[in-house]
């Protein structure tokens, strides 16, 4: 086996090896674990995208405030601490919950901040039907509770109509 490399700072055995290319010149640095840690170069396994994108923002900008107040996702209980650890989110709602944090991160990650690709049209249409049916069903229950039977009948008919068109959509 090759001879162990020495840390460029303290002469202990180096376990962290960095190669960087600056202006077409290859620069190599070998560090021991404690010096690497001191220099902020942590174990690559523990390093996450979230760290990379989030940490400098916190240090420099007012984002720090909004950051602390983001708390946890009301939908799934995910926390920003968790996000920083894994670089992943807990649920679709997290995109809203952590929006201030994410919009900065997304900025550096992608080629824009607006989706320009495929849209699940069928699913969206179905969803809008389902939402309207749910709404009307709530109204129907309320009307029944208040003994407004004429209105209730109207709601019921509308719901039936919507369900019929939804079914027609699905079989089509």
């Amino acid at each position: 086996m090759a001879k162990a490399l020495k840390c460029d700072v303290c002469d202990k055995n180096a376990t962290v090896h960095l190669t960087q290319i600056i202006n077409n010149q290859i620069h190599k640095i070998d560090l021991c674990e404690s010096c690497a840690e001191e220099k902020g170069i942590t174990n690559p396994d523990g390093y996450s995208l979230a760290d990379l994108l989030v940490k400098p923002e916190v240090a420099s900008e007012d984002a720090a405030e909004s950051f602390e107040s983001l708390g946890e996702c009301p939908e799934c209980g995910y926390t920003q601490k968790e996000f920083k650890k894994t670089g992943r989110l807990g649920c679709e709602q997290c995109y809203e919950t952590f929006r201030p944090l994410l919009s900065r991160a997304l900025d550096g990650m992608h080629r824009g901040d607006q989706h320009k690709g495929k849209v699940p049209e069928e699913a969206l249409e179905r969803k809008s039907y389902e939402d309207r049916i749910n709404l009307l069903e709530g109204d129907l229950q309320k009307a029944i509770a208040n003994e407004q039977y004429e209105e209730a009948a109207e709601y019921r008919d509308e719901i039936l109509e919507l369900k019929k068109s939804l079914e027609a959509e699905e079989t089509a």
Partner: protein
């Protein structure tokens, strides 16, 4: 892709397009509790299995598979290492011809991929797009008009699409130019990885080139951008081949001849060494030093020499050193009747001209 067309584009082994999708109102798999993951699995597994391309395919819950079975699926790129490592309430559906696979409860609820041999991005995208539209007929996806398809990791949000090409770049590796290529390509938002994706090394001079960004561009625009980078890399590889043949043909003949000799006569071969030797033989096929029929054999060997496949072939679980012996025996048999390399190569037969034919070919394929 027809064999004829594959022959004309020796640099691209295969193309793959995968989409990440999640169900509305369900936490992402990494954060979901077991009953929630179970719910997603039970919703998705039958929905995917009933799709037309999956008829007579394989449907499996990952927990039910043995370690070896999982390893074989990983080596064939049909499931990811991540799925194999966290199999709880996870599943996979694989089409009969293994060109389509859909993972359930990996990083996202659904990860669907289509693999095509050779250079066929548009066709792979069309297939996976149709599959996705069919699935959407029965499943409600988490989607926002602003951010597109919502994924567990913000690096996939938007299209949720990762298109990748598996490229064989031996001349760029031999002439030490890969580092330069990787650097240039990274600046264009395109990632370069080893054969088995994130964190894997590039044994056998095989690299996976894929888009890094998923938001702000349409699927077609991403593929177009990736294709143009791919074409540049192909050109670079062809140039590097010509250069080596011009300046140092003996070195190349020596490398390929030795690879042939070792494959025919060795008694201990690690999978990494094997990959590098088979890669050189494939380079030899491109240079017409071996018959064209060898191409299918070597492309198969890239997968068959992986540890899981060797054990599968042996019919039992065996340790590394025994595996190395078994692998070399397998290769000796494969190379027993292969004629020795033709050494009179004078010109590169995989030159610019045939690459152009290929790009036309791809367009023709897409029209058809």
């Amino acid at each position: 892709m027809t064999e004829g067309a594959a022959k004309k584009c020796p640099v691209v082994l295969m193309t793959r397009v995968r989409l990440a999708r999640n169900l509305m109102n369900h936490p992402f798999p990494g954060w979901a509790k077991m009953p929630q993951k179970k719910d997603v699995l039970e919703t998705c597994l039958p929905a995917v299995a009933s799709l037309r391309p999956m008829k007579r395919g394989i449907t499996a819950e990952i927990e039910e598979l043995s370690e070896l079975e999982k390893q074989i699926l990983v080596e064939r790129h049909l499931i990811s290492r991540e799925l194999s490592g966290s199999p709880e309430r996870a599943g996979v559906v694989i089409s009969k011809d293994q060109s389509v696979s859909v993972m359930i409860n990996e990083e996202d609820h659904l990860r669907m991929q289509v693999v095509k041999s050779g250079y066929q991005f548009k066709s792979a995208w069309n297939t996976v797009n149709n599959l996705d539209t069919a699935l959407e007929g029965g499943l409600n996806y988490a989607f926002s008009s602003r951010l597109g398809y919502l994924t567990a990791c913000p690096t996939n949000v938007g299209t949720g699409m990762r298109a990748s090409a598996m490229m064989h770049l031996p001349a760029l590796v031999i002439s030490n130019q890969m580092e330069k290529v990787v650097r240039a390509v990274n600046q264009l938002g395109i990632a370069v990885r080893g054969l088995f994706g994130e964190g894997s090394d590039a044994s056998g001079s095989i690299f996976q080139i894929s888009n890094q960004t998923t938001l702000g561009e349409s699927e077609e625009a991403i593929i177009k951008r990736l294709s143009s980078v791919l074409k540049t890399i192909i050109d670079q590889e062809i140039n590097a081949r010509e250069k080596i043949l011009e300046t140092d043909p003996d070195k190349l003949l020596d490398k390929i001849g030795r690879a042939y000799g070792i494959l025919q006569n060795s008694h201990l071969l690690s999978s990494n060494e094997c990959m590098n030797l088979v890669s050189l033989v494939r380079f030899g096929v491109d240079l017409e030093m071996f018959s064209e029929e060898m191409r299918n054999i070597v492309d198969r060997l890239f997968i068959e020499c992986q540890p899981g496949h060797i054990q599968h072939h042996a019919g039992k679980s065996i340790d590394t050193s025994e595996r190395d012996a078994y692998r070399s025996e397998y290769l000796r048999k494969q190379f027993e009747n292969i004629d020795k390399p033709e050494n009179s190569i004078l010109k590169v037969t995989t030159g610019q001209e045939s690459m152009n034919t290929e790009s036309n070919n791809e367009e023709e394929n897409e029209k058809g």
